[in-house]
């Protein structure tokens, strides 16, 4: 079953086309990796899907529901969670409080919200840090915090912007394992990632963007050998 269907989604800022006629769909329970050079429009695509930026034209369907033009809080309420490239923890609140704010979507009672938050914090392996303020956590831990907080709303679809971006090499494998563990819970994932090896390892399908346009969509192996993708990453030499 298709969990997300995107058709001809476009957005320009002034004269710059951040996203041009992008179409793709995502199977429930799969991981879609989104790759592309800097400025390819990956984060813009996330903002368009989650309603943080209004698209100019196009269609976005979550299951059978049209979510184009709906406000971000309503979209998240339908079951679309997200993390941010530039991390946005509630800095002056503890890890537990951060996750509880998400957990309140499903649990009205404070004790049950707390217990639910703790279970998720345990899932992301940060249980010992639960009473630490978010600003005291390392970047890797804050990435886990954002994942935990997004999971707390019990999303069917989770969009993760650069899970391994900005963390040191030693931290990366743990985060990758966490994404795999997350997939096993049945949640569908769309992830932006710069590290091609990771994308190839975790994704069922890969969407490649360049200059706001979709240049390829397929299984990781196909994408790896796709000429346009290679050109976009390495550049082409025009013999004039």
């Amino acid at each position: 079953m298709k969990i997300l269907t995107v058709e001809n989604l476009s957005k320009s800022f002034g004269g710059i086309h951040a996203n041009r006629d992008i179409s793709f769909d995502v199977e429930e329970g799969s991981i879609l990796g989104v790759i592309g050079p800097n400025g390819a429009g990956k984060s813009t695509l996330f903002d368009l899907i989650t309603g943080f930026t209004k698209a100019d034209t196009g269609k976005v369907k979550f299951f059978d529901k049209d979510i184009f033009g709906i406000s971000p809080d309503k979209i998240s309420n339908l079951g679309v969670g997200r993390t941010f490239q530039k991390l946005k923890p509630f800095a002056d609140q503890t890890l537990l409080e951060n996750v509880m704010i998400g957990a309140f979507v499903k649990e009205k009672d404070i004790k049950r919200a707390r217990d639910r938050a703790l279970e998720i914090i345990d899932f992301v392996d940060l249980i010992e840090k639960r009473h630490h303020f978010a600003k005291e956590l390392s970047t890797g831990q804050r990435k886990r915090l954002e994942m935990a907080r997004a999971m707390a709303i019990d999303p069917k679809l989770l969009l993760m912007d650069e899970v391994t971006g900005g963390v040191d090499q030693k931290t990366i494998p743990g985060l990758v394992e966490l994404v795999k563990k997350l997939k096993k819970t049945g949640v569908t994932i769309i992830t932006i990632e710069h590290n091609i090896n990771i994308i190839m390892e975790i994704s069922d399908n890969v969407l490649a963007l360049d200059q706001g346009k979709r240049i390829a969509l397929g299984e990781p192996k196909e994408i790896q050998n796709n000429k346009q993708v290679i050109d976009a990453y390495l550049g082409t030499f025009d013999a004039a």
Partner: protein, 337 residues
């Protein structure tokens, strides 16, 4: 791993520090007992002003400290509360005990009307807009004949003390208790708010509106809710103040100074913290009252110079307010390792 989770789940949600609770209970009993020891009317007045300003600052704390919107026109709700009780009492003989609720209702309605367009503005723009709204209320009431225009309302005095008219001429002690009870109720309710789901969500809106949106929180609605709650807390103080001084005019109850002072008190005590406004009021109000005594009318603004100095020192050395002097292990959100 399971055992760590089980331990975490078995923790109490809030730390209850028996020592702190007993100190607070003791202070409350002391506050109730104080007038029995023959406090003179100056001290009664001083405490009344502390209670009143603490509640007013708490009102500002809800919108600014909890939801992160700096309002510079909060005096408007104080004035609305003051005029609501006085006007309905004088025109229709409605007891202030009921018209206090009119004041709260009208303030809430204005908070919604102002909040819907204004809370779309972010940061400084919201602050400037509320500043202008605060001033415009003063201007409107200065020219509105129905409510006495610039000369204001002189509340009809009862011949003797009256609980139903909320007027006491022989002693300030009844006022003391009325303000004290409002003060305690307000603080208890705001304390509950800070621990509720709503409190969590307001802090989310304050700390990062975008992250809040990603967690199903309708940021604009929550800002409006905070603004309305804040207005509802402020209005009764205007109502009680009107009954206390019995003469209200636009220059007094819609004064821009009210909006500034609630900000100063909160920032001094500790913004975003339930206890901050109490600490701030307990320090700034006596400074203001004593400077008025010792410096008289000519030194009317000297207290503001003091405020300015104290605030500068606080902002430089203790940006989280005086509450940050309280040892960490007493504060509720203590870390357990």
């Amino acid at each position: 791993m399971d055992s760590k989770l089980a331990i975490a789940k078995s923790e109490p949600i809030w730390n209850t520090n028996v020592r702190v609770i007993s100190i607070i209970a003791g202070l409350i009993i002391l506050l109730f007992a104080l007038p029995l020891f023959g406090m003179n009317s100056f001290y009664l007045h001083l405490f009344i002003m502390i209670f009143m300003h603490a509640v007013m600052a708490q009102s500002w704390n809800v919108i600014a400290g909890f939801s992160g919107q700096i309002s510079l026109g909060h005096g408007a709700f104080f004035g609305i509360g003051a005029y609501a009780t006085s006007f309905f009492y004088m025109e229709y003989g409605v007891t202030p005990w009921i018209s206090i609720f009119f004041g709260m209702l009208v303030s809430a309605i204005f908070a919604v009307l102002i909040g819907i367009p204004m809370l779309r503005l972010s940061g400084h723009y919201f602050a400037i807009a509320t500043l202008l709204i605060g001033i415009s209320f003063q201007v409107v009431f200065q020219r509105w004949d129905l409510v006495g225009a610039a000369s204001g309302l002189w509340v009809t005095m009862t011949p003797e003390d009256s609980w139903s008219a909320l007027q006491f001429h022989s002693s300030k002690a009844p006022y003391y208790y009325v303000f004290l009870i409002f003060f305690l109720i307000t603080f208890f309710l705001v304390w509950l708010l800070s621990r509720s789901k709503l409190g969590y969500r307001l802090r989310a809106v304050r700390d990062d509106p975008q992250a809040a949106l990603s967690l199903c929180i309708n940021v604009s609605n929550y800002k409006i809710i905070a603004y309305v709650i804040s207005a509802i807390i402020m209005a009764p103080m205007g109502s009680l103040f009107a009954q206390y001084i019995l003469i209200i005019d636009p220059d007094r109850v819609f004064n821009i100074e009210i909006s500034i002072i609630v900000l100063l008190i909160t920032v001094l005590g500790g913004i975003g913290n339930v206890w901050g406004p109490i600490i701030g009021a307990a320090i700034l109000v006596p400074i203001s009252e004593y400077s008025r005594i010792y410096l008289g009318g000519t030194g009317g603004a000297v207290d503001l110079i003091f405020y300015g100095l104290i605030l500068m020192i606080i902002c430089i050395f203790k940006p989280n307010g005086l509450i940050s002097f309280v040892p960490k292990d007493i504060l509720e959100r203590k870390k357990q390792r």
